[in-house]
Each structure stands twice: as structure tokens, then as C-alpha cells.
Amino acid sequence: MNKPRSSIVKKILIATGLILLVGAGVVWYIFNEKFEDTATVKADQSKNATELLSEFRTDLTNANKQYTEKILSVKGTVSEIEKADTTFNIKMSDSTGAYLIFAFQAKNQQDLLSIKEGDIISVKGSCSGGTFSKILETFFVAFKRCVIEK
């Protein structure tokens, strides 16, 4: 009579142990999950910088729906390079003053040292969307986790 009961208890303990192990594994995975390196992610779309800015200026709502949180490959002329202690941003502007701004992954900032204003480059990054800046009175579109495409 005791034998089957002990076997059931054993099975329950094993099942509980397995559930805890799987649970711990899921938690560990969630806590350690990272973004994939943008360099290895295929771009959802390739765009010309001037055309992309024109789309945001013409219909901000629609452009945000279409491009926000998408990986875009953007080709254009560097209009400004903004460096600070930990940041390295590149801008591409159009004739109206509207601009795209690309914030680079820290590990890729070394690739930017040779880039200068006026260079035509392709940048791949995650589009954070665009807005109208009340401070600058112009449109801007921001990108994060960017890399230079070679």
C-alpha cells in the first residue's frame, strides 16, 4: 500500500522540479534577452533620405505607421556629425531644415571616425518615428541602434 503512494509523491516532486527548472529557464531567458546586432538584421526597407523626410513632412501620421520600429536602410548625405562623451549621432537634412538623426551603437562608433560632412553613406537602424519639433520648428525622424552599411 505504501509503495504506490511513495511513487506518486516521487512523481509529483519530479514534476514540480521540472516546472521550477523550466520557469527559472524562462525567467533567465527574459532577463538576458538582448537586441540582435543591427548589422546582422535584414532591413525591412531601403530608402533615400530626402524621400523619407518628404514622406514624414507630407503625412506624419501615415509615415509613423509605416516606418516606426522598422529596420530601415537609409542612403543620404551627411549634413552634420554630433559627438558627445558617450554618443555619436549622424544627421541627414533636407533643404527645409528637416532632418533624420541616427544614434549609433556604442560598439560601432569606431566605424564612424572616418566619416565627414558631405559624405554619401548608407545607415541601417531602427526607426523611432518622427515628430514636429516645436523648438526647432521643423520635422525630425530619429533612429536608434544604428550601424554603417559597408
Binding site: 527574459i30 544614434a103 523611432s128
Partner: protein
């Protein structure tokens, strides 16, 4: 003649320091970590800011989806309806004035403590706020840093993760801007 040249130089110098300065690469660090969760921490590297040394007007604005988290799931939660609801409220902004402007000499190198009062708009809510800031003047360049906390409930940010204590109810915000 000499007096005229001297006057012209003085005038141009005053005009130069009185000009409103802007940047498009300011940073805002958001730190809502708690003892049980070290993940809610992010940086926005494309903050637009302006400072008018003549009037003391200081402003900044940021796209919420520009906040970069190390963890993709936390970033999704941050932008989701339980937190910032960035689809509905895509930007945050601050407009204010330096209230002790007379103690800051933008024409002289040095580090100055500034008191800023204004309104912060976040999650569609606009609240009055006082910010301490440290402004470092170095030639024509001004570097301003402000560290402060906000109460998320003041901005009606009250998702389950906040109630469960996984996200700090009063996250630390650090704004760091350099005007060249």
C-alpha cells in the same frame, strides 16, 4: 576710430553670448530600476533642446520610442499601454525658465548651479516642476546637466509592473545637453 572698433567688438561679443542655442543630440537617461528588477533603464540620444542665455528659457523634447533599453521585452512594455503608451503619446517635452539667471555669467567660464521652473508634459499630462541644473560655461559652449525624479502617478502612468514594484514609482531622470 579705436573706440568704434572696441564698441563693435563688445557688441558682437554680447550678441554672440545672447543668442539662443540649440542641440539635436542631447541625452535623457531614464532609471526606474528597483531592488527586484535592474532592467527598466534606458537612454534617449536624440533629444532636442534649447537654451536662451538672455532670457533663461530652457526647453527640451524627446520622442518616447527613441528610448533604448538593453532588453527588448522591457522596451516593449515601456512603450505599451501600461507604461508610456507611446502610440498615443509619442513625445515628452519640458519648457521652463532659469529663475536665478542673474547668478549665471554665460560670458565667463565656470560652473554654475541653476534653478529651473517650468512644465513637463509626459503621457499627455502637463505638470509644473522644479529642476536643479548644473551649467558649465566653457568658451562659447554651455553644458547643462539636470538630475531629478518624477512621480509616475502624477502623469497617470500606473501599469501593473509599477504596482507590483518591478518599476520604480519615482524614476530618476538625467538630462544632459551640450550647446556649442
Amino acid at each position: 576710430m579705436k573706440k568704434t572698433i572696441l564698441f563693435a567688438l563688445l557688441l558682437s561679443s554680447v550678441t554672440l553670448f545672447a543668442q539662443k542655442k540649440t542641440t539635436t543630440s542631447g541625452t535623457i537617461n531614464f532609471d526606474a530600476t528597483t531592488s527586484t528588477d535592474a532592467l527598466p533603464k534606458a537612454e534617449n540620444k536624440a533629444v532636442v533642446a534649447s537654451l536662451d542665455p538672455k532670457t533663461g528659457k530652457l526647453a527640451f523634447e524627446a520622442i518616447i520610442k527613441s528610448f533604448e533599453f538593453g532588453n527588448p521585452r522591457i522596451q516593449d512594455h515601456f512603450n505599451g499601454k501600461g507604461w508610456m503608451d507611446s502610440e498615443k503619446f509619442p513625445t515628452a517635452s519640458f519648457e521652463g525658465m532659469i529663475t536665478n539667471l542673474s547668478t549665471i555669467n554665460f560670458a565667463k567660464d565656470g560652473t554654475y548651479e541653476a534653478e529651473v521652473e517650468g512644465t513637463l508634459t509626459l503621457h499627455g499630462e502637463t505638470k509644473k516642476i522644479k529642476l536643479p541644473a548644473v551649467i558649465t560655461v566653457s568658451g562659447k559652449s554651455f553644458h547643462a546637466v539636470s538630475e531629478f525624479t518624477i512621480k509616475l502617478e502624477d502623469y497617470k502612468v500606473d501599469g501593473p509592473a509599477i504596482a507590483a514594484g518591478k518599476v520604480a514609482k519615482e524614476p530618476k531622470i538625467t538630462v544632459d545637453v551640450t550647446f556649442k
